[in-house]
Symmetry: C2
Subunit: 410 residues, 2 copies
């Protein structure tokens, strides 16, 4: 693999996106793989760098969401790779792969226990130290731990067909769908929520069987969280005597309209799933719970007003699963606020690699939502060429378009 | 029950404690019980009111820790009290009882699920609205839900004898021992810790079997947390293939010396339990974990420096169980700090009533520690008369004495 490729580059200090020809990346370490990118995503968190908020002072190749095929593998791959993550033995040239937005070795303490986003070798794609996926080729370090082979997804789909999983759909596995799954899972696995699902009282009381939850923020990740949560809850309801009610909240009308269409498309009951703006949500939660508040909140925005709304909606002894990328502002709470409500928080980045087995099943199950482009129920607005990157960043930054994907070969 | 009694009163704005004669309380509601106080405790959180930090502008009878006997019961008690908490049928005049530091009805949503400290009828003892226990008699509202009959404790003790459970020992059930139990339980039940104990991976990873924990703060509650945690961990170790290491931290040398003596008295292994000041603790955790940090922290102080120490000691994807009474200062973290560490927090007050079944077993098991007064391993320094209250508050406020109990009949 010699020669040059097209890539989207960002230049400091801010708002400077250029499409340039740069060298095709090479294998630098035996654990590396070179992926030929089929599609790359433009993600809300790309805007942190775009706007100059991340203290980065060197140019970089953008992007941390990509799907593609393996075109080169380092010397670690092959039948000799015993004792290592399975992919070191099983990955082949031409395999279709998705990459989480961070590198994870699959071998350190954090990877072994499923906290893959805090791998001891973790690097984010799309920073000066690791060129990103908005390019024709991308180098993936620790690839046997990091990458996810797509055949695992197609095997999980109901009818087993490959055709139903378009690349645009698979791209959602790089970040936003696993992050939605993680938000939902953290809430349902919390020690204060799970007694209502498992009927194991906490610790010696009885338990309620009506779970009231809210999702704060209906951007693409919020929608993924809603679909994941409803899927998990309907699964639980089939085996346990439990009722649930979820309110999905966003001040933006077009986001609410899309969430409503998607809820219809996946068959969510209007009794158990409501879409609301902030004042409506407060009234709904108050009516549903006689003023007590929600058991738990999925906070999918990552700023202080979202945290404050979550605090206001949650009941005493409730929990908040906060998966948004928070920035510099101090938390908007006094210690006393948190003591007085016996509140629990789970903060932080999604361990994408660990979530992929669940996320890929959900992806295959809800192809009507995740497989479409540009429709009323689609999370992806359109696919454009790399040349459109400067304009696309600008529109996305101004909230004038939804999620955009780049086809580097268009 | 007519006439006057002695009581410890606080007068605003601060530092004004008087011993006065006041009317003996009467049953005001059919759910009330009047308790003749045998011993009442002086607790660290009494100092918040003492110092004038709680925005209270009316005089009050102090104290939220007491043990005593039932001398009068309202009309709700008796065989007619079906469908209500058991004590409405089974409580008798003369029964020995302990009260949690807050009222809990036993019937609302929060009580039924075990979150008794956030009962919808919750009132703290020792505020203007509810006279406290540093008196000869105290009125207990919602007493069939609030009170705990002591025979349940003696039944749980190994040799079944009543004599081994002195009143001074039982008093620890009102607040500090259950709060220590709660701190330990929150850590061990956390979704991010429990996979290491149950071998159920989170969610699809493997799991480690070495649990590294720290306790921040070795006041009386911190010692109770340490004893409870070690008891639970040794129980787990008997049935599961798990190792643990706990470091107990306090900058105060005499507190560390007491913790060390108590650890010896309960047979804690020096390999798995260390007592340290802050710099030693940082080194110990770093050595034990190769620099990764603790799985979880029991934060038993309730201020920002304790929270910051906890943050510094915990590893990514770790959890902090914070049971201290936090005050007005904003939390000392930026959103980004919490995102970057994937940290979890459980804040808030102990649900004492729900913890009493576990706490009373631990009390009975470790009588060498909990049953002694004024010894090197005792949590209680001495028992004094109510007349000594002004002096005792002053000494306690200045850190010049340990835990003091009042005998109102002395």
């Amino acid at each position: 693999m010699e020669g040059m490729q097209k890539a989207v580059k960002w230049y400091p200090p801010s708002y400077d996106i250029r499409v340039e020809h740069v060298p095709i990346p090479k294998v630098q370490h035996p654990d590396d793989v070179i992926v030929k990118v089929q599609l790359a995503g433009l993600c809300g968190s790309d805007l942190h760098i775009y706007r100059g908020h991340e203290d980065v002072d060197a140019e970089l190749i953008c992007g941390h969401e990509f799907v593609g095929t393996v075109v080169e593998m380092g010397g670690s791959f092959g039948s000799h790779a015993q004792q290592r993550p399975e992919l070191y033995r099983t990955l082949r040239l031409g395999d279709k792969v998705v990459s989480p937005f961070t590198v994870s070795c699959g071998e350190c303490h954090f990877c072994r226990v499923g906290f893959t986003c805090r791998c001891m070798h973790s690097v984010l794609f799309g920073i000066p130290a690791l060129p990103g996926g908005q390019a024709q080729y991308v180098r993936v370090p620790k690839a046997g731990g990091t990458l996810f082979k797509v055949e695992s997804v197609t095997a999980a789909s109901k009818d087993g067909s490959v055709s139903c999983l378009a690349d645009s759909s698979l791209l959602l596995l790089a970040d936003i769908l696993p992050t939605g799954v993680f938000a939902a899972l953290q809430v349902l696995q919390h020690a204060k929520t799970s007694p209502m699902l498992t009927a194991s009282p906490y610790p010696f009381g009885g338990f309620d069987r009506i779970l009231t939850l809210a999702i704060v923020g209906l951007g693409p990740v919020g929608v993924c969280a809603a679909v994941s949560l409803l899927d998990m809850l309907s699964g639980i309801q089939q085996t346990k005597d439990v009722q649930y009610r979820v309110v999905a909240i966003d001040p933006n009308e077009s986001r609410r309209a899309k969430m409503t269409k998607i809820a219809e498309a996946i068959g969510a009951s209007r009794k158990s799933f409501a879409v609301a703006d902030i004042p409506q949500a407060k009234r709904t939660v108050s009516e549903w719970t006689s003023g007590i508040g929600c058991n738990a909140i999925l906070e999918v925005v990552g700023n202080n007003s979202a945290l404050e709304l979550a605090y206001g909606l949650v009941r005493p002894f409730g929990s908040v699963s906060s998966v948004g990328v928070h920035q510099e502002p101090p938390l908007p709470f006094m210690g006393r606020d948190l003591y007085n409500k016996n509140i629990s928080f789970d903060f932080g980045r999604c361990p994408v690699r660990a979530m992929l087995p669940i996320a890929s099943k959900i992806l295959a199950k809800y192809q009507a939502v995740f497989g479409s482009i540009g429709e009323k129920i689609s999370l992806i607005e359109r696919v454009v060429s790399l040349e459109d990157a400067p304009k696309s960043y600008e529109l996305f930054d101004k909230g004038k378009c939804g999620k955009i994907l780049f086809d580097p070969w268009k």
